[in-house]
């Protein structure tokens, strides 16, 4: 196993109804994306607490992406609208503290958008990899 090769660690929070199904569809269609992306299933994107995002960075994630239903299509009618506001505010704050913008993203992926899911993950992984290791929100205690 190559030890030195840098591989970003990406946590993807996917809502159960659209994006997780979109990820499944990507799988059904055998659309490849980096194995660095690890998906956590949540009922709705609005379940994602900023604390989870910071926790992921603390534990060594290099990028965190939140995927939900397209605005207007939320299974719970309005969850992703709250996600949209919360994350806009949070990401802007992280940027204000000088954390790299490309480490966080929100993307709307429907259950039909397997291709979009794979493309999004490829793109995000690439952008995060370009930034290199997350240094600005790391917790050295959690390093191996």
């Amino acid at each position: 196993m190559q030890v030195n090769e840098y591989k970003p660690l990406i946590v993807a929070f996917c809502c159960n109804w659209c994006s997780y199904a979109g990820a499944d569809l990507a799988g059904n269609n055998r659309l490849a994306y980096p194995a660095d992306v690890k998906i956590i299933r949540v009922p709705c994107s609005c379940r994602v607490n900023p604390m989870f995002i910071l926790r992921a960075f603390q534990r060594g994630a290099d990028g965190v992406i939140i995927c939900g239903c397209h605005p207007g299509d939320c299974h719970y009618t309005s969850g992703n609208y709250y996600t949209r506001r919360r994350m806009a505010a949070l990401f802007s704050m992280l940027d204000f503290l000088g954390i790299e913008r490309a480490r966080t993203r929100v993307e709307w992926v429907s259950a039909a958008e397997g291709a979009k899911f794979a493309a999004t993950m490829n793109d995000f992984a690439e952008k995060v990899a370009a930034l290199g290791e997350n240094k600005r929100l790391e917790d050295l205690r959690c390093k191996k």
Partner: protein
């Protein structure tokens, strides 16, 4: 600590082809809490499930992790397996190592490595799982239908037919709604009254149905199966149970100049009135704004002539409180106001009318007794111009009209044009349209007949301006196909006004905590799969309150909503989804933040007495989640600043444990 069993599925070669399943089950054996780990060809097969059951027994497992396909595929299967083995079904977690691993990664090493991590995350989660039991709540076996148009009528009849009591709340003095105002109905041209009024009578005679006419819903509390509703029965100054509907009072009422709503103000009615002959209930109503007796105590004629003694000038609004298990919204539609469409001279000329007014003009019970006469001079019009899409599909001028298609106008305009040509063949009929939209059984045939058999002149193009000049209406229009401007001297112009939800819908939606779209149409729980349910459990949608629709569609939706209601009322108890939010009252601030983001109105507040550590007591406001209403989205959990609100099955600690496991 849990005793976790890990079951890695090969899914034939689907997983085993890119994931070393043996290595995965070996690696996961060492995870904290894991006491058993195995792999098998098809975990979901009968044999695979038996293997799980046997392991649960043999290793006294308290939690199960299945590394297999997507939980969307087989989570339910494995939950049932767990239940069959005596475990709580919610002690199962799935690691998706097929769709999100073996199928998207080609390299065995990569796939195996990721599968192990996904397995660890599922183990970390299941270690924090707790058995969940769905809550149960009783069902009040009575339905409320709000709105007594054809949608409400059909829904009520169908529910009553299944044996459940139903109440209809109608704000007008009679049920019937818009359909009662129509003349003929497309595409079969039956007379609307002929098919509607028998249904109205059925409603009146049905023992299971109560009609609260001239009434409004003022308050809704509770949740699916258990709504508490307040209905305001407005004073009609006539004792409903005594009035025989003989009409003597109406005849003698000296106040005769009240614009008649039923005929859209094209003629007058009395201060005491019965909207139309077949009204249900056939009971008189006094218009308090017009009645001299009510306004200044001078008159009292109706009381004198009423043989039954039904008149009661002292009657007061009455509040009725009732419990319901289900609520059907059937609040219907109205044509939009033509105020903003001055280019069509609607306010300037009586001979520019809306299509609904045209219905009344051609109706035998209408202001002209069914003769097509111009409202201005009572003459027979020889040239009629129908303008379609007035305020519909108005993307460019959203402040004026509606962006959406009103759906019914193409067909009723074809009907109007056809009927006109049929009755009055000497009439020139023009229809200006953007597109003639005729999807529906026998719809296009109907439209073709109007064009081909009845010689209606369909012109693709819009009317730019209508100018009244003498007794003519100068219509300026464009013909987009011939690419030329047209000038038509018309005697009558009929505007196919866009339709919009009734104004009462918005406040009602707030009471019901049911969501609406930006146009104030009620939102369905799912646009395709749950089209007659509101996202708010126990609230169902019938008819045009959910979107523009014609009568056949309305009736079918009404039936569908009724069947959903019947399905609900047929249950003695409702079993909920146990993955719902719950609030830790010791940490709750009672700040109402969660309530504001809950799309279902599942959160209420109570004042609760707490014993403080210093042995004093303190009364604090705390949130209570109704598990029967909560759908488990989790919006409240993030809105809550203190973290008092958490979501069963997706607890903060569980999600963080997954994050930790993945980021290890």
């Amino acid at each position: 600590m849990q005793r976790v069993g890990v079951f890695v599925c090969w899914c034939g070669s689907n997983i085993a082809g890119t994931v070393d399943v043996q290595a995965v089950s070996e690696a996961l054996k060492n995870e904290p809490g894991v006491v058993y780990s195995a792999n098998y060809q098809y975990m979901c097969s009968q044999a695979g499930q038996e293997m799980i059951k046997a392991a649960v027994k043999e290793h006294r497992l308290t939690g199960i992790v299945v590394c297999s396909c997507s939980p969307r595929m087989h989570e339910a299967t494995f939950r049932k397996t767990a239940a069959a083995a005596g475990l709580n079904p919610y002690m199962v977690e799935i690691a998706n190592i097929r769709e999100q691993c073996s199928w998207v990664h080609k390299d065995m090493m990569t796939g195996t490595e990721k599968a192990i991590i996904l397995g660890k995350a599922a183990i970390a989660k299941v270690n924090l799982n707790a058995p969940l039991t769905p809550g149960e709540s009783p069902v009040t076996k009575r339905a409320l239908v709000i709105g007594g148009g054809i949608a409400g009528i059909q829904t009520a009849l169908d529910i009553a037919d299944a044996g459940f009591p139903v109440d209809i709340v109608e704000k007008q003095p009679t049920i019937g709604g818009k359909m009662a105002q129509l003349d003929k109905t497309f595409p079969t041209l039956d007379c609307a009254a002929c098919i509607l009024t028998p249904k109205m009578v059925d409603v009146a005679q049905n023992e299971k149905i109560r009609i609260f006419s001239y009434s409004e819903v003022t308050d809704v509390h509770g949740f699916v199966g258990n709504f508490d509703v307040k209905i305001k029965k407005k004073a009609r100054y006539v004792k409903e149970d005594i009035c025989t509907g003989c009409g003597a009072c109406v005849e003698k009422c000296p106040m005769k100049k009240v614009p008649n709503e039923f005929n859209l103000g094209m003629d007058n009615r009395h201060a005491i009135y019965i909207p139309f002959a077949q009204a249900v209930p056939k009971v008189a109503t006094i218009d308090p704004n017009a009645c001299n007796m009510l306004k200044n105590g001078k008159c009292g004629v109706c009381a004198k002539v009423c043989a039954a003694g039904a008149i009661d000038y002292k009657q007061k609004d009455e509040i009725i409180e009732e419990k319901y298990g289900a609520i059907v919204v059937a609040t219907g539609f109205n044509p939009i106001s033509m105020d903003k469409f001055d280019e069509f001279a609607y306010s300037q000329s009586k001979d520019v009318i809306t299509s609904l007014e045209f219905e009344r003009l051609t109706n035998a019970a209408g202001p002209s007794a069914g003769k097509l006469l111009r409202p201005s001079d009572g003459k027979h019009p020889h040239t009629i111009v129908f303008v379609q899409c007035v305020g519909s599909r108005c993307a460019a001028c959203a402040e004026k009209g509606k962006e959406y298609c009103s759906k019914i106008c193409c067909m009723y305009t074809a009907k109007h044009a056809m009927l006109t040509r049929d009755k009055y063949p000497d009439t020139e009929v023009y229809v200006f349209y953007i597109d003639a939209r005729t999807p529906g059984k026998n719809f296009d045939e109907f439209y073709r007949r109007a064009v081909e058999e009845y010689g209606v002149k369909y012109i693709k193009g819009m009317v730019g301006k209508v100018v009244p000049e003498g007794d003519k209406l100068k219509v300026q229009a464009s013909d987009l196909i011939a690419n030329k401007q047209l000038h038509i001297d018309a005697d009558l112009v009929v505007l196919a006004a866009a339709i919009e939800p009734d104004k009462s819908a918005r406040p009602l939606a707030t009471m019901l905590t049911a969501s609406m779209d930006t146009n104030d149409f009620f939102t369905e729980a799912h646009p395709k799969l749950r089209p007659v349910e509101s996202p708010t459990a126990g609230v169902f949608l019938s008819g045009a309150c959910q979107g523009p629709k014609d009568i056949p569609e309305t009736v079918s939706q009404a039936g569908a909503a009724a069947s959903k209601v019947i399905g609900l009322l047929a249950k003695d108890k409702l079993t909920g989804n146990p993955c719902v939010a719950s609030s830790n009252e010791l940490m709750c601030n009672g700040c109402s933040t969660c309530e504001r983001v809950c799309p279902y109105g599942a959160i209420t507040y109570i004042d609760k007495e707490f014993r403080m550590p210093d042995r004093t007591t303190k009364i604090r406001r705390v949130a209570v989640v109704n598990p029967a209403v909560c759908q488990g989205c989790g919006a409240c959990t993030v809105a809550c600043p203190s973290g008092a609100m958490d979501l069963n099955g997706f607890k903060n600690s569980q999600i963080m444990a997954e994050v930790d496991a993945i980021c290890k």
